[in-house]
Every structure is written in structure tokens, then in C-alpha cells.
């Protein structure tokens, strides 16, 4: 049996269904991500696991205990909030020690454990500071240490890095992953940032409209999106209707289903430059509509037979960008065209 089981959990707010009989399972020691657009129900699910929202139906099992109707403080669940939620009247030390103090543990033991945690999150020397004297990144480290020190069965992180700027965010993502591996703690991480999810997760649950749209390892999700929603949300896929695609490559397809093609698998070349395509790919002609510089890649938007395709090209030389209306050839490998089920 899995370590944490969400079994057909339903939650409504004023009659609006936010979680629709959602089910998922998490194994011990995993770092999983609930990924989805805002309003998809991912944060609500997190709050239901923590007991901060009551569920309207279904069960939640943690470590073989049914915790569905337990008070938050009896669940063995820790949580890190987006706004850190540090107690402003307490120092870093007092904040981190809070959970152990509530357990009525001895001062000497608490001091030793707090020191451990402060070292773990790299906040040595800040013990006596108050939250308002710390940067956002430092505050979130304190929040992390505060909820980890009581060794909860599962740690929930509700978009914890959202309020931080990009650089610190990237750094903390890596640190969190390291800390998680070192401690072996089970963590559920909520985010709407697919890049963040792909970077840190052992497994990802893509959530849409209160249900799991797809689950799997990051690579699986990225290369094998199961639906148009996941394809669009995860990877800026080019999603085409079956008939559109038939028109594009001029070949009939077996199924009438939609298709997804990642922008980076399409090869782009100037007209006639490379001769003919291989057997395992389609070759089509098009014209550049626009080009976006996205740092290390260039994204061309190409029009071909009234379809628009995004094509990513590694930005490895400064003057290789093509102008508007340039005629180009696109090569699409056949095995990279994914048939979508929905």
C-alpha cells in the first residue's frame, strides 16, 4: 500500500466543485509535484491534506492511518506557505524551535536540534534575527527548517518560491532537492511553474479542473503528454487537429485525433539547402511569421498551409536569425509526433 493515499476526495466552495473525486498515491521518500494552472484545485488539495480545509467526500490515508477528519495538529503533516507565515514576534531560533516546544521537549534537546536545522538550511549566525530583518529567501529557509524540525510524515509546500526573484528561486529549488534527498522526507510541492516542476520532482501530477490530468516522471510527462491540456501546459507543444496535420503533410492518418509536436524536434532550414527529407520524417515548406529571442534559443513562428508551427532553434550564432517572410523548410521526425488521447 502506498504511503499517502488520496481516495476520491471531493471539495466544494459555495457549490462550486474544486476537487472532483481526485485520487492519487505518493510513496515514502518521494518528492512529488502537483502542477497546474491557478484555480485548478492543487492548493485546495494541499490544504485538505493538512486539514486546513474540510473535505466534502473521500478519504485521506497517511502511513496507514485514516486522517480524513483529524485536527491539523494531530495529522503529522508539515506545511510551508507561499507567504512564509513566520511568527513576527519570534526570532529565527524561536520560530524553528516552536514545534518542539509545543511537544514539551527539553531545552537542551531543542537547542541541539535547532542548531542542526539551522546548519541544514544554511542560516548560521541568523539565530537572533527577527523575520522582518531577513530577505525573502532567508525567510523561506526559516519556514522550511521550522516545519522540518518536527519530522512530519509528509511535508507540504504551497508554491513556496513564488514570491522570490528568479535567481534565488533557482538556487532554492536545487537546495530543496538536496535537503529532501538527504533527509528522505516525503514532500508534496505545489506549483504552477512547469519548469520548476520538471526540475525538482521525482514524479509530477498534472492537475486540471479538480482532477489528475496525467501523472508520471518528469521526462515521461514532457515527452508523452496524454492530452492537449498537458501538452499545452507543459511544453509549449504545437497542437494540431488531425485534419490540419493531414493537410500539412499531405498524408492520410489512421486516427482523427489531435497531435502534438515539441517545437525543438522540428528542424528548420533555408529552402532547398539540405536536399530531401529522410524516410522517417516529413518535409514541408513554410514562411517565417515572427521570431522571438528566448535567451539560448530562438523561437520561429512559421506559417505553412494555414497552420502555425513554433520551431525552436539553438541560438548558437549571433547572425543566424531569419527575417520575416523568409521561405524555410521544416523537417518533422515521424516518431516525435505524439497522438493525444483527448
Amino acid at each position: 500500500m502506498s504511503y499517502l493515499i488520496i481516495d476520491k476526495v471531493t471539495k466544494k466552495f459555495d457549490g462550486t466543485v474544486v476537487l472532483n473525486e481526485i485520487s492519487l498515491a505518493v510513496e515514502r521518500g518521494e518528492l512529488v509535484t502537483l502542477l497546474g494552472p491557478s484555480g485548478c484545485g492543487k492548493s485546495t488539495l494541499l490544504r485538505c491534506i493538512a486539514g486546513l480545509n474540510e473535505v466534502d467526500g473521500g478519504r485521506i490515508l497517511l502511513n496507514d492511518r485514516d486522517i480524513t477528519y483529524l485536527a491539523p495538529r494531530k495529522r503529522g503533516v508539515g506545511m510551508v506557505f507561499q507567504s512564509y507565515a513566520l511568527f513576527p514576534n519570534m526570532t529565527v531560533y524561536e520560530n524553528i524551535a516552536f514545534g518542539l516546544k509545543m511537544q514539551g521537549l527539553k531545552g537542551g534537546y531543542i537547542a541541539a536540534r535547532v542548531k542542526e536545522m539551522i546548519d541544514l538550511v544554511g542560516l548560521g549566525g541568523k539565530e537572533k534575527s527577527y523575520p522582518r530583518e531577513l530577505s525573502g529567501g532567508q525567510q523561506q529557509r526559516v519556514a522550511l527548517a521550522r516545519s522540518m524540525i518536527v519530522e512530519p510524515d509528509v511535508l507540504l509546500l504551497d508554491e513556496p518560491f513564488n514570491a522570490l526573484d528568479a535567481k534565488i528561486r533557482k538556487m532554492l529549488q536545487m537546495e530543496l532537492k538536496n535537503i529532501q534527498k538527504k533527509s528522505g522526507m516525503t514532500m508534496i510541492f505545489v506549483t504552477h511553474d512547469q519548469e520548476e516542476a520538471l526540475t525538482i520532482s521525482d514524479r509530477i501530477f498534472v492537475i486540471n479542473e479538480g482532477r489528475v490530468a496525467q501523472s508520471g516522471k518528469p521526462l515521461e510527462i514532457y515527452s508523452q503528454p496524454a492530452s492537449e491540456f498537458v501538452a499545452r501546459f507543459i511544453g509549449n507543444f504545437n497542437v494540431l487537429k488531425g485534419e490540419e496535420f493531414e493537410r500539412l503533410v499531405g498524408e492520410p492518418l489512421i486516427s482523427g485525433k489531435s497531435l502534438a509536436i515539441r517545437p525543438e524536434v522540428i528542424k528548420l532550414s533555408l529552402n532547398g539547402e539540405n536536399g530531401k527529407g529522410h524516410n522517417g520524417s516529413w518535409r514541408i515548406k513554410g514562411k517565417v511569421v515572427s521570431v522571438f529571442l528566448k535567451g539560448n534559443i530562438l523561437r520561429y513562428r512559421v506559417r505553412s498551409k494555414d497552420c502555425i508551427l513554433d520551431v525552436d532553434v539553438l541560438n548558437n550564432s549571433l547572425d543566424c536569425s531569419l527575417n520575416y517572410d523568409t521561405s524555410v523548410d521544416l523537417v518533422i521526425p515521424k516518431d516525435e509526433v505524439k497522438v493525444l488521447n483527448l
Partner: protein, 287 residues
Amino acid sequence: MRAKWAHISKNLWLTGALFPLAVMIFGFELLPIMGMLIDSFRTDDGNVWTLGQYITALKNPYYLVAIKNSLLISLLSSFIAIVVAAFVAYFITRLKPKSQEAVLTYVNLTANFAGVPLAFAYIIMLGNSGLFTILFQRWGLDIFSEFDLYSWSGLVLVYVYFQLPLAILLLYPIYFEIKEQWREAAHLLGASDMQFWLQVGLPVIMPGLVGTFSILFANAMGAYATAYALVGSNYNLLSVRIGALISGDVYARPHLASALAMLLALSLIAAMLTNEYMMRRIRRDLK
């Protein structure tokens, strides 16, 4: 040269426009305060410098009792009002936002009910031939027969009445300093409701509570109309004594009144300083 003249004339024009406000503030605010300050150090005939007025104020048992009574009723009524208001204001924050607005509007309306009209309303209700007094007599409710509106307990009752709405209005915004997520975080870390309030909730709102208390205290110390309308000069309060010393034709001793008024002002300043000191003690994080 011309530019300089323009500059000067512009300044003159500006200063001229500020003149009326300056005159009013000087004439009716600063001058009286300075006059009172000087008067308090003068003998009754106003000719000689002396500390005599202060010595009288602090040595004469009559005035000492007045000061003591004023301090007592101010502390007591502020304390009762702040305890009740702490609960009521918190309950209000738990209502729906629309209801909160309505409740506060009504509380705000009653906050205007004070002074002579308030004393009168209480006389109608609980005076010697007040509505409730007579009703209670007829119903044989003996517990209330001891109650006398024109005594200490009556005065406390009325003071609490006008302190309560003010206390609620002042405390209400303070509760919004407690973020809901602090409560959630505390619970998830194993704290009970009580532990949350003791460890986080109360420390966070404590500066607000102390500040409100000092405003209530000052409000009660300076109150005159309510007490005067209710008990006239019969009850010995500092503000009532000051009033008697300036209005009585025969007994008027404006210099002594000035000294007492200075002491009253000092008590208000003391309340303010205590407030600031306490704030620094309680919340080390707010430097």
C-alpha cells in the same frame, strides 16, 4: 535684482496667507497653555513665583483624593472596557465582511453618545425615580436596591458605557494584524488554540492593546461633562475639582486650578510614555 524682489514679495504673500491660522493657533492654543503653565507657578494674587500651588495640590487630602479617584475610575473603566472590547471586536472580525461594516457603523453611532445626554439617559433609566429603579423595586429585586447611580458604582457604569464603543473601534483593526496563516502554521506545528493565542496572537496585538488602553485612560482622565452632569461637584474627581476652581465665583482659585490641570496633563503624558516604553519591552522585534 528684480528676481530677488519677486522672491521676497512671493514669500511675503505666502506668509501673509498663513497668518490667520498662525494667529488662531497662537491665540487660542499656545497662549492659553503658556498662561496656564505660568499661572501654576504663581501665588493666588499672581504676583510671586512659587511652587505652593503644586504643594497644595499634592498635600491637601481633598485634592489628593480627587487625583486618586480619577486615576482609579480611569484605570478601572479602561480595564473593563478593553477586556470586553477585546472579545467583542474579535467576534466582529469573525463575521461576514458586510455584517462587519454594519456592526461597526452602529458602534460608531453610539460612540457619539456621551456627556450630558448620556448622563441624562442614565438618570432616566437608573436614577432615584428611574424606569428600571422603580421596576426593580416593584418586582422586589433587592440586589439592585443597593445600587446608587450617583455614587462610585454608578459613575463606573457610565464611564464604561462611553469607553466601550471607543475601545471596540480602536481594537477592531488591530486583529487584522494577525494573519490567518500564522494560526494555520501554529496548528500544524502542534499548537492548540490557547497556545497559539499565548505564543503568537497576543504578542502580536499587544502593542495595539496597550496603545488602546492608554487612549482610553486619557479619555477617562479628561472626562468632565458626564461626571458633572451626573453628580455635579459632589463627587471628588480631578476634572470636577479643576472645574469647580475656575467656575466658582467665590471659591475661584485659577492658579491652583492651573496646577491641577498641569498634573492632569502630566498624567496623560505619562500614559503616553508608558505606552511607548511597554511597546518596546513587549515587541523586541519592532525596534
